[in-house]
Symmetry: C2
Subunit: 205 residues, 2 copies
Amino acid sequence: MSAAPVGTREIGRHAVRAELARVAFNRFCLTGFNQVTFADLAEAAGVSRSTFLRYFGTKEDVVLFVFDPVGDVIADALDADRVDEDDWSRLRNALESAATFLVRDVQHLVTILDLVDQTPALCARLREKQTEWRPKIVARLRETASPADGSPVIANVRAAAALECLWIVLGQWSASGGQEDLGNLLDAAFAAFSPPARQQTAAPL
Amino acid sequence: MSAAPVGTREIGRHAVRAELARVAFNRFCLTGFNQVTFADLAEAAGVSRSTFLRYFGTKEDVVLFVFDPVGDVIADALDADRVDEDDWSRLRNALESAATFLVRDVQHLVTILDLVDQTPALCARLREKQTEWRPKIVARLRETASPADGSPVIANVRAAAALECLWIVLGQWSASGGQEDLGNLLDAAFAAFSPPARQQTAAPL
DNA sequence: CATAACCTGATACTCAGTGTCAGTCGCGAC
DNA sequence: GTCGCGACTGACACTGAGTATCAGGTTATG
């Protein structure tokens, strides 16, 4: 899944990166993302500013690098699930894979998500990452699309909509302190697409 | 629609802003967004760097301020269209209003959109603006939502999906040089939601 | 051991964005 | 008219992100 480091150098580098991120994250939560500078982080972690910057290209990445594998997780899940399902079902399941991947330490993820949506810069960067994932997802969808879907617009819209669902659902989940069930939340979100869409008359549920 | 300036000062300020943006935009198209600095822009426009920065808080805004009214345009269109329509139809119509608002000078809009998706920073900022529009749209949807929709998740998902449609459609439209019909493109995009979603068997169209 | 690759800290640099300050202009009140 | 007030401007200084370079130390490998 996450490319296993081969050399000892890779291992070390990975470990240092994790430690730097850990220290930095505490600072962010304590003082606020914008208030903390790279100089602060470097001092807190006991390395030089140069070194810190070598591990994380931007301040946003210090927080958001944990989301990097999500795009591949979703794409892989789509591949594993091409059995007789329609796009929406496959996307829903793939999103559940992504959610499962992210939720290891519930408390930690909740804290991250809180920090993210308190911080416009983090929101923006995370949305940017999502957009980077989309082409890969679109490609997987189109592999099995009916020939009638000549234009890539349909697949793009569905992929984009699904990614929005993931984000909205995670926001809701984190607002509940990680109590609610992600599967149920995903179902609730995808219900926005499935019904015949006439909302005026209350649908008998 | 766009709040009419009342005082002479407002008029002047607005005109200066437009002129600065015009000069700057040429520079961006010529040299590339990232290559141009505020100092360059100020010199090209014949004002000081300070003054230029007083008119535009960020370099991104110099390009993207034209999109600012779109959120209100969509919200207003939703209000004017609450007659007996389901959410998706209302959203589709509202998006067409937004598109109509944006397409005054076809060539200019195409140029802007090209510049935007050549420039990650502009993409990110535009997506940020979209997210700012969403709450207002959600509120309008929920005003007429059936009581069965207790959770705001449904409305959020639909608003987010619709905004993604707008962006995808504009991308497609701009790729065609502004030739294709935006109404048709919107229909094609919204088709991603309507069919029973089973994509394996080619739907007889 | 030797060498090549890598990591680190130091330093210098560009540029976005913020804030301050003094001078200027337009405009209404007196 | 002129006085004062508010807004606009340019000049300057400053913080902080991100890039680039360099010398010296460390580690893997032959």
